[in-house]
């Protein structure tokens, strides 16, 4: 039924949300891709956004991560200095800095999140250099350490990710994102293109890293098993709207809306 929860939500010492979405909407011409979405995300909390293709979940993720300007509504984020800022008022440089330091973004296709022709070590080290690290030895040591944490043989540190398997690439992308110790990571179908056995290993790894590092995560997935394993809370989207939201095990074990019941009943038994 329910996994006892790993996350330590109230010793994180924060009753203040990290990210708040207020009435977010996005239209492309006459098509409303996302309508009136509001929620608050707290430090250490994992929120899954589920729904089928075209439900608006990816549009929502792009707005939340400041990559797409909303047609209406706001996203605010509490910066490391404790000041809450509206993302639309951030300059391009500030937004990029946030992305390099306090945020991570794990793409479905690792080729989008990695530089495929440079070594694995450089892929991880690059994020450190972007935040001012300049000691080659320390960068390499930290990169090796992160490769180990994501279960990549350190002997492969000088190989480019194009020589890696799909699962290894995805684990490398995760290392590259987590090396700067972000507080919030966006994930877009992180297990999407992987074989089932590879998925299980990746999910297990993500689950333990999230708990260990007290990461807040917003994960977009169409796979309810991924939502169940990783998330505390789930939002079900359909036609650009959030139709049901709540504690993950509650929504999945006791779904209320017809569409959520359909999604849940469509899972093949294990």
């Amino acid at each position: 039924m329910v996994d006892q929860d790993l996350a330590d939500l109230d010793t994180l010492g924060s009753d203040q949300p990290l990210l708040v979405a207020q009435s977010l909407s996005k239209s492309f011409g006459r098509i409303a891709a996302c309508r009136d979405v509001s929620f608050a995300l707290y430090p250490g909390e994992v929120l899954a956004i589920v729904g089928e293709s075209g439900s608006g979940k990816s549009t929502l993720l792009q707005m939340l991560s400041g990559q797409l300007a909303p047609s209406a509504g706001h996203v605010s984020y509490r910066m490391r200095d404790g000041v809450t800022r509206d993302l639309t008022t951030l300059g391009e440089a500030e937004r990029r800095f946030l992305f390099r330091t306090d945020w991570g973004f794990v793409h479905q296709d690792p080729a989008q999140g990695l530089r495929m022709a440079v070594s694995a070590g450089a892929n991880v080290g690059e994020r450190l250099m972007a935040v001012g690290w300049n000691h080659y030895g320390r960068i390499r040591e930290t990169a090796s350490d992160w490769l180990t944490r994501v279960e990549i043989d350190v002997a492969r540190i000088d190989d480019a990710p194009r020589t890696y398997s799909g699962g290894m690439r995805q684990r490398l992308q995760i290392a590259r994102n987590l090396v700067t110790e972000p507080r919030l990571v966006f994930m877009d179908e992180p297990t999407g293109g992987l074989d089932v056995s590879v998925q299980a290993r990746l999910l297990d790894l993500v689950r333990s890293l999230v708990a260990e590092l007290h990461l807040a995560v917003i994960i977009v997935t169409h796979d309810l098993a991924v939502a169940r394993l990783l998330s505390h809370r789930v939002m079900v989207m359909k036609g650009g709207r959030v139709i049901e939201t709540g504690l993950t095990d509650q929504v999945l074990d006791d779904p209320r809306e017809p569409y959520t019941q359909l999604l849940v009943s469509s899972i093949l038994p294990p």
């Binding site: 329910v2 929860d5 790993l6 297990d204 006791d254």
Partner: protein, 232 residues
């Protein structure tokens, strides 16, 4: 009154939208309380709603109406209306659930599966593992298996790992869903002892037990769920 669990007039109906919106009434008017150190056993035939009530108390099933009062860190919280974050906090520090089946986390060693609830609540890993080992030992899980993930174990072994994980914590409320279902006599006796120890520590428990003998051994009170049967 200092009840740990105070359920008042709780009601649950499933609406099956995929079956033409059929309403499936489960329970209504569920009202009972559990004091510290007390084990209340829910009785009634299969399908009467015993497991549903247990899941409502854990916040896994939502209530349509009524109240699920839980004493959490000195104040009473209504789980039927609590925010998800609050429900998670209550599960971490107040309510434990021991189900029949272990939802095993792949690749995690048995000893750590059992120790995890203590580690999450701040106990140092070696101390937590020490207590986990003692409990696994009592439940006859041989030490050579402790470093293996329980996914490879037999059904009975997995259930005992699950019981160890459920009973290791110091949570003041425990919900037991057929904890002895597929255990042999010796291990059933260990579970009865564990329940008795929890009572002495003041833990409030709600249990579903089909075995009459075990029920007589652990129940302080029996709540007959058929009286909450929802009129179809």
């Amino acid at each position: 009154m200092t009840a740990m669990i105070d359920v008042a007039d709780a009601r649950k109906t499933f609406t099956m939208h995929l079956q033409g919106g059929i309403e499936l009434p489960v329970v209504r008017g569920v009202t009972f309380h559990v004091n510290p150190g007390e084990c209340v056993v829910l009785s009634g035939p299969s399908g009467a709603g015993k497991s549903s009530i247990l899941k409502m108390i854990f916040g896994n099933y939502r209530c349509d109406s009524g109240r699920i009062g839980i004493r959490h860190r000195g104040t009473v919280v209504d789980l039927a209306t609590a925010e998800p974050r609050q429900v998670l906090n209550i599960r971490r520090s107040t309510i434990g659930y021991v189900s029949q089946f272990l939802r095993a986390v792949p690749r995690v060693a048995t000893i750590d599966v059992v120790a995890e609830p203590l580690i999450v609540n701040g106990l140092a890993r070696p101390d937590a593992q020490h207590r986990a080992g003692a409990l696994l030992h009592r439940l006859s899980i041989p030490e050579r298996l402790w470093q293996l993930p329980p996914a490879t174990f037999s059904g009975g072994e997995q259930q005992r790992v699950n019981i160890a994980r459920g009973f290791i914590s110091d949570l003041p409320v425990l919900l037991l869903d057929e904890p002895t279902a597929s255990l042999d006599a010796a291990n059933r006796a260990v579970v009865v002892e564990l329940v008795a120890e929890k009572k002495r520590q003041g833990v409030a428990m709600v249990a579903i037990v089909h075995d009459d003998e075990i029920r007589h051994l652990i129940a302080d009170r029996i709540v007959d769920v058929t009286s909450f049967a929802a009129a179809a």
